[in-house]
């Protein structure tokens, strides 16, 4: 399944709507169920689905389905790039200082 579709499915579950009814510009202004508690649930559900963790700044950016898709994609790309690097760094950090 495409990343964009996975994001829409998760959002649709949390917002109790059908994935077809969500578009890139769907936001708290256009989706009636998207309140602040639901926003927190959406953040948590995305973190569970994609095994990522948002920063406070990123959480504030997640204002529409399109923005959510962009931020998630960026995070997943960054995760892929850093996985190898982190392993290397953690080896280094075991050296006595």
């Amino acid at each position: 399944m495409l990343l964009a579709d996975r994001v829409r499915r998760v959002a649709a579950d949390i917002l109790e709507t059908a994935p077809e009814d969500l578009h890139s510009d769907s936001s708290a202004d256009t989706v009636g169920t998207w309140d602040s508690l639901r926003h927190l649930s959406l953040v948590l559900a995305l973190e569970q689905e994609f095994e990522i963790e948002f920063t406070p700044e990123e959480i504030e950016e997640l204002l529409s389905i399109g923005l959510v898709q962009t931020v998630v994609e960026e995070k997943l790309t960054a995760k892929k790039l850093t996985t190898g690097k982190q392993a290397h760094e953690s080896q280094l950090s075991l050296r006595p200082v």
Partner: protein, 640 residues
């Protein structure tokens, strides 16, 4: 692993076509693959359509908290729904728990919960210890902890005055990094030590009240790793201290308690080949069966150890295996690695019948409902079959690799218990004796000869502190021979026993095979010239041996002794109490009208009498004849 998208399409099809067991089984599968917030929302959306086709146990749950807990609620509801528990949740306001406890008019009591969860953070209850410990004098720190413990006493006793709900209390976590670093561990009275003392005090406080249970929060966090558990971003931005990944873990831990309180599994039915050992009893030589301390046999040894632990927890064990019986029994009896032997099993079905049939037979043999059975089998086809044909059976999901079997079994939430009574420990022995009794019943001779050969002695005693827990437990667990199926907590039993006109009795049955323990409960209420039977129940272990008649004879004798004219009884039908349906009619009670589903039955003591069967030796514990004199423990209860 089936793709989640395909699985959802199949669920939609099942729901559309009314194949409810299929939809339920696939929803469970989807849930196990991904127990997330999104999946929870999906489960609850499907639940609306599935709800009326399941038998659900309702549970009203109040959550009292000092932090953001809301995101756990939908996950708990979904996990519970799939376990056939229908949870209605009320979340209390932030940090309002003290008022909620103390004010009898609070929304907590207005909600009338069955269960209340108290989840408080150490940092909220003893902020001095959490944040300012480095600057605290030992005397001040001690005082803070003592005050907190005193508060709990106060809250618990206020709660008990206003509600008989079960309470689950999170214990207090220690900081991942102590304020004083490794220096803290060098003293018993450091930050960590004091929080342990706080938890100890909490234990002591809870132990003074009925039905207050602790949840080891520190242990729960350590199971998944404290650093994975905490989420500093969510904590600082939304007061939610738990990471997204661990929210389902907390919901699952709560579900353990709901299982223990609501729908306990009574028996585990296990497969043999490739479940209890590696290999096939019918094909492999004994030496080739994989079971022992070395891998791969060690994986199966672990499974057996976990099953043995369940046995000691009071869970009955049974076997359902497609095998030739002698070959399977040879492994059980002779293999040096076996921890489980024939003596651990209360029922055996080693044959070539379908497992669904074997499970039904086992339930009948053990005198329990099929919804009290759990099923363990390495074969996913057998598991699926049971799920679809017997949706009420709790089927344990196993990974493909046997290395994971032990963990799957140990982490299962369905076997949880909050109390083990002496009867539970004795139960397996009693069932084995029961098997011998049934064999005796098959011997030629009249029924009366069988009754006489049992040499039964029924001992009836007024409620005492030693029987209280068992009496309350029986009201919850007895489904078949139960005339009114009223469920009472120990607290409620105490209240009844202390109320004017009410009497609560327990009945113990011994026979020549041994002591069956307390197996019967009688609760009566005398009003004017009538003794009304509020509760009359008998554990299925001793049904069909005329003990019921002995209990009724005791009730009528008591009524006569008090010069009453009538004994009145009710039959309230449930899904399971058909065995009790004809009881009053058979004992010459007159049909006295109905109220809803319930039928009322009346016996005129001036015209009829009921005598204890000649083959039962009935013994009533001597108690004070002066009715105004209450037993001391009830007087104490009423006073305090």
């Amino acid at each position: 692993m089936t793709d989640i998208h395909n699985l959802r399409q199949q669920i939609e099809t099942d729901l559309r076509e009314g194949f409810w067991a299929g939809a339920h089984a696939k929803l469970q599968q989807a849930w196990w693959q991904q127990p997330t917030s999104a999946a929870a929302a999906y489960v609850m959306a499907c639940a609306e359509r599935l709800r009326e086709h399941r038998v659900l146990l309702p549970c009203r749950l109040a959550i009292l908290r000092s932090f953001t807990i809301e995101p756990v609620v939908p996950i708990l509801r979904a996990a519970s729904f799939l376990a056939d528990i229908d949870v209605t949740v009320q979340v209390g306001a932030f940090n309002a728990y003290a008022q909620e406890f103390l004010d009898p008019a609070s929304s907590l009591y207005a909600f009338s919960p069955d269960v209340a969860i108290l989840c408080l953070q150490t940092r909220d209850v003893v902020p001095e210890i959490w944040e300012e410990f480095s600057g605290l004098t030992p005397e001040k720190a001690r005082e803070v902890v003592d005050q907190a413990i005193a508060q709990f006493h106060l809250w618990f006793s206020a709660f008990r005055r206003n509600s008989s709900a079960h309470v689950i209390v999170h214990t207090f976590e220690r900081p991942g990094l102590a304020n004083r670093g490794i220096l803290d561990h060098q003293s018993q009275h450091g930050q960590g030590g004091l929080i342990s003392e706080l938890n100890h005090g909490l234990h002591l406080a809870a132990a003074q009240f009925q039905n207050i249970y602790l949840l080891d929060y520190e242990g729960l966090m350590s199971r998944y790793g404290k650093e994975n558990w905490h989420d500093q971003v969510k904590w600082l931005t939304t007061r939610l201290p738990i990471s997204a990944a661990c929210l389902p873990r907390l919901a699952e831990e709560w579900l353990r308690y709901l299982h223990a309180l609501g729908a306990p599994v009574k028996a585990l039915v296990v497969d043999l080949d490739n479940t209890l050992w590696g290999g096939l009893a019918g094909e492999d030589e004994l030496e080739a069966i994989r079971l022992g301390r070395e891998y791969p046999g060690a994986a199966y040894l672990g499974v057996q150890r976990a099953i043995l632990d369940l046995y000691h927890r009071g869970i009955l064990l049974a076997i359902s295996s497609k095998n030739n019986s002698p070959e399977a029994l040879r492994v059980i009896d002779k293999h040096p690695g076996m921890l489980l032997r024939q003596e651990h099993f209360s029922a055996l079905r080693i044959n070539w019948n379908e497992k669904v049939r074997s499970l039904r037979e086992i339930a009948i043999e053990l005198n329990i409902g099929t919804d009290s059975l759990a099923f363990l089998d390495d074969n996913p086809v057998e598991r699926e079959r049971v799920r679809l044909e017997m949706p009420e059976v709790k089927v344990i999901e196993l990974p493909e690799n046997p290395v994971g079997f032990e963990h799957a079994l140990r982490s299962s939430v369905i076997f949880e218990r909050l109390e083990i009574t002496a009867e539970d420990r004795e139960k397996t022995r009693q069932y084995r004796e029961q098997r011998e009794r049934s064999e005796l019943a098959k011997e030629p001779g009249s029924l009366e000869t069988f009754y006489r050969s049992l040499a039964q002695r029924v001992e009836i005693a007024a409620l005492g502190p030693e029987s209280l827990a068992r009496v309350a437990q029986l009201t919850h667990k007895t489904n078949q021979f139960n005339l009114t199926t009223k469920r009472y907590t120990a607290e409620q039993i105490l209240q009844l026993a202390a109320s004017p006109g009410f009497e609560v009795y327990s009945a113990r049955v011994r026979d020549r095979f041994g002591d069956n323990g307390i197996v019967g409960v009688i609760i009566t209420r005398t009003h004017e010239d009538t003794c009304e039977i509020d509760t009359l129940l008998l554990s299925c272990r001793v049904i069909g041996r005329t003990v019921e008649t002995a209990l009724l004879a005791f009730i009528t004798d008591e009524a006569r002794r008090q010069s009453l004219n009538y004994v009145r009884g009710w039959f309230v039908p449930t899904r399971k109490n058909q065995p009790a349906e004809d009881f009053y009619r058979r004992h010459e009670f007159r049909d006295n009208g109905t109220l809803g589903d319930a039928t009322r039955w009346l016996l005129d003591l001036r015209q009829a009498s009921i005598s204890c069967p000649g083959w039962i030796d009935i013994h009533v514990s001597s108690r004070s004849d002066s009715r105004s004199e209450q037993p001391q423990f009830l007087t104490e209860y009423a006073a305090g």
